[in-house]
């Protein structure tokens, strides 16, 4: 294995049949208390021999693509390279890749190799600067391949133009894995003096694997897109189960609050179709319940949909496959049209915000689109208007706010959540992370990582990709971080981010220090004077 800090893009094919580099646990970014001692860190999980045998573990020992069985015979290996190149050709096609070709060509052509973007990447920094995680690493490898096989310069003077790469099956396999070491958070894009987007390269490699080779992590494709298209939700919740769940949630809500709130379903011609990430119903049911309370209290004309494509706003396609992204977005829009609602409001899910409001925005003519907006401005206006009788002292603990990349950096929704928090938290209890807002760091669960748990990928997420966020959280709470007597709540208004925080808190045993996490709407309901019992479970336990 080679020390990652010494690797260059040309080295990606080195050590065939072996692991190229490793996560150097001694070099990982240091953390403040209570994790200033490396003995408190999660332990590295060596890939099992049978995993190595079957999957592509030869990049850094981590396996993200749990459906990619490495080729064994020479024919299979050659076929893998051939298919990859055929995917690269389509990636470069104005027709097959029309939705991104302009941006891709710009990023492909103009990188000045100034490395400004590298300083912005939380994964690169957290790893202790292992080159394979540098934003430009996979970009440069792909650029070399493109030059070698698809440009005249690359054919005539490969060394001169930087096309001297030997494209073996191992390079393809490592490149495929490396595409899942980037959260597609686009923080690097923001700092580039030429506004180039290195996340595009990760996404395009994922697309080549998915769209050409039919290979994508199971949680994204088979158990994600495909399951959602088949049953209506990537959680597998069918329409009948969804209806039952809502009934249960309303009953539980009545038990807890003493008030009957009915979640409207399939109300034709309503103003608002609210779409949740269906994961909330199972993992964080208090979140949809809080929405029901808040929307009903405000007297909004709203509904959920029980249409097969109307009750889960998830769209994993945006991370790896254009066709899947489009199919899901179109179907969700159709469900809204069927109900005749005026607008779709996306609940607390970051990627669903971006998928429905931004990515899908140019999929079909505007006249066929039901307008999509975030729940945040709506709720901000309601809170600031005094719709709810709020007592911030009911949220008598510390909090910090995580900014989901998808709707903050990539949609510019920054202030409403802060207006809400400032209205529901006691003065001085809300501590911003640094940096925050559009300069935030990803939670480490972005682009599918939060739901990818196969083999040892979890280690990578909890110890590397979420590390910077952990550092930010600890810094935000300062000395209180190590004090188990002080309650600390990480406000994460996004399902995927919450998933990442759930695992992070567990892997680092942060409950021992009284850390909690959850959404934003829960804080609003918890501050409502109307209810006697605290809405937040950890306050009830106190």
């Amino acid at each position: 294995m080679i020390d990652g800090r010494k690797l260059g893009p040309r080295d990606i094919g080195k050590l065939p049949g072996e692991q190229l580099t490793f996560i150097d646990t001694k070099q990982l970014m240091p953390l403040p208390a209570p994790f200033d001692n490396p003995d408190t860190w999660p332990k590295w999980q060596e890939p099992k021999p049978e995993w190595r045998e079957k999957y592509a573990a030869s990049l850094d020992g981590v396996i993200a693509i749990d459906t990619f069985e490495t080729p064994k015979t020479k024919e299979e290996q050659d076929e893998l390279v051939r298919k990859f190149l055929s995917g690269v050709e389509k990636m470069l096609s104005n027709e097959a890749n029309k939705g991104i070709i302009q941006c891709l060509n710009l990023s492909m052509e103009y990188c000045a190799k100034c490395n400004t973007c590298s300083n912005a990447c939380h994964i690169f920094e957290a790893s202790g600067y292992n080159e394979i995680y540098r934003p430009t690493y996979r970009a440069e490898v792909l650029r070399m391949i493109v030059k070698k096989y698809f440009t005249k310069g690359g054919k005539l003077m490969p060394k001169f133009v930087g096309a001297d790469i030997d494209l073996t099956w191992e390079v393809v396999a490592r490149l495929g894995e490396s595409a899942y070491r980037c959260n597609l958070c686009r923080r690097c894009n923001q700092t580039c003096p030429l506004a180039l987007d290195n996340s595009l390269f990760a996404k395009e490699i994922r697309k080549i694997f998915s769209q050409e080779m039919g290979i994508a992590p199971k949680p994204l494709f088979e158990k994600g897109d495909m399951l959602q298209l088949k049953t209506g939700s990537s959680t597998g919740i069918t329409k009948a189960a969804f209806l039952d769940t809502i009934e249960f949630l309303d009953e539980d809500c009545a038990d807890l609050t003493g008030y009957e709130y009915v979640t409207p379903i399939d109300k034709k011609g309503a103003d608002i179709l609210l779409i949740h990430n269906a994961g909330e119903f199972m993992a964080w049911p208090e979140n949809p319940t809080a929405f029901t309370i808040l929307f009903n209290e405000a007297g909004l004309d709203w509904t959920l949909s029980s249409d097969m494509m109307g009750y889960d706003n998830v769209n994993y396609g945006i991370w790896h496959d254009d066709l899947m992204a489009k199919k899901l977005a179109v179907a969700q829009n159709e469900a809204a049209k069927k109900l005749g609602v005026q607008r779709i409001v996306i609940a607390e899910c970051g990627h669903a915000h971006k998928a429905a409001a931004v990515v899908a925005d140019r999929f079909y003519p505007g006249k066929d689109r039901v307008p999509v907006q975030s729940f945040l401005p709506l709720l901000r206006d309601l809170v600031l208007k005094g719709t709810y009788d709020l007592d911030p002292s009911r949220n008598n603990f510390l909090t910090t706010l995580h900014d989901p990349c998808n709707y903050v950096r990539q949609m510019g929704i920054v202030k409403p959540q802060r207006d809400i928090l400032n209205a529901v938290m006691p003065k001085g209890n809300f501590h911003e992370m640094e940096p925050h807002g559009v300069n935030n760091y990803c939670c480490g669960g972005g682009s599918g990582f939060a739901i990818m748990n196969s083999m040892n990928f979890t280690y990578f997420r909890n110890s590397v990709s979420s590390r910077k966020k952990l550092q930010q959280v600890l810094n935000a709470f300062g000395e209180a971080s190590a004090d188990p007597n002080i309650i600390k709540y990480i406000t994460a208004p996004c399902s995927n981010c919450k998933g990442a925080f759930r695992d992070l808190l567990e892997a680092w045993h942060m409950e021992d220090y009284n850390f909690h996490y959850g959404g934003l709407v829960e804080l609003v309901v918890n501050a409502m004077t109307k209810f006697e019992t605290p809405f937040l479970e950890f306050l009830r336990d106190e």
Partner: protein
């Protein structure tokens, strides 16, 4: 005369090829949205923290005004100062900025020389122009030399740059260095003045042979060997720049304007919608689409299934 023609050719090709490059990017299909905040086109209040029109309830019913002044200021900050590099990588900004400032000075020098070709050196206006030509020329030569040397040293010695730099990228830097050094040498070997520059633009605008102008009494140039070498290198670099990635002045317009700042929504009746409709026929030819199984049309039901 050949050199005069070559000078015109280089100038025309520089602009022509740059426009051609821009046209290539502009003719590609409209991409999906890639907004990245902060976007200076938003209101100044929102721009300050990176907010957008999507922070408004029912944003689709509200007017979305563009703040073009802030956009121009931002763009100028990037163009003139490479602001993002300064903010995010202060350590190397100076080197890169020296080179870029040197190039801007060289552009100013060229424009001033064309003015000088008509203003001469005698009139009051002409002498002001001459002073400016001298300042711009010296600044261009010195900063381009220092900037390119700095970048070359950085790329040869710092591993994180060395590993990613191709021979062509080194060649580009040496090419620019050669232009700057021959320019400075021509200046130094010809009495430390820019009469030679006047000779070039005079020959170009009067369509005369450069050798005749240099041999004449208006703009005499004694050491023409180094001058001709400089002109050839300068002309070649001008033709080469739009053809290689040094044409990032074209790309940068698109990446900012057309990509990360383009948050125009697809509202009914909008330009975006019109483009979507117009481009809906762009599709891969048969056999050229992605070939994973889920991209294949669903098979027709078999007789048995029917």
């Amino acid at each position: 005369m050949i050199l005069t023609i070559f000078c015109w050719l280089a100038l025309i090709l520089f602009f022509g090829l740059s426009l051609w490059k821009a046209k290539q990017f502009a003719s590609l299909p409209m991409h999906g949205r890639q907004d990245l905040y902060p976007i200076p086109l938003e209101s100044s209040e929102k721009h300050a923290y990176g907010g957008s029109y999507m922070e408004e309830d029912r944003w689709f019913e509200k007017e979305h005004k563009h703040n073009n002044v802030a956009m121009v200021i931002d763009m100028l900050g990037e163009m003139l100062f490479i602001k993002k590099l300064f903010v995010n990588q202060n350590k190397f900004w100076w080197i890169s900025y020296a080179l870029h400032l040197g190039i801007y000075a060289a552009l100013a020098w060229t424009v001033l020389l064309f003015v000088g070709a008509f203003a001469g050196m005698e009139s009051a206006f002409g002498s002001i122009v001459y002073v400016l030509v001298t300042i711009a020329g010296v600044v261009a030569g010195v900063l381009m030399t220092l900037g390119t040397i700095g970048l070359i040293v950085k790329r040869l010695t710092v591993l994180e740059f060395k590993n990613y730099t191709t021979p062509q990228e080194m060649f580009n830097l040496f090419f620019l260095l050669a232009v700057a050094v021959t320019g400075l040498l021509t200046f130094l070997l010809n009495g430390c003045n820019f009469t030679y520059g006047y000779a070039i633009t005079y020959a170009m605008t009067r369509f005369q042979a450069l050798s005749e102008v240099c041999a004449g009494s208006l703009y005499p140039v004694a050491n023409t060997g180094i001058l001709y070498l400089h002109i050839i290198l300068l002309g070649l670099v001008m033709i080469y720049i739009p053809l290689c990635k040094m044409s990032h002045y074209v790309g940068k317009y698109f990446t900012f304007h057309n990509v990360i700042w383009d948050n125009r929504p697809n509202l009914p009746g909008s330009k975006v919608e019109a483009t979507i409709i117009k481009e809906s026929s762009i599709a891969p030819a048969p056999g050229k689409n992605w070939s994973a199984p889920h991209y294949q049309p669903a098979p027709a039901p078999t007789d048995e299934a029917k």
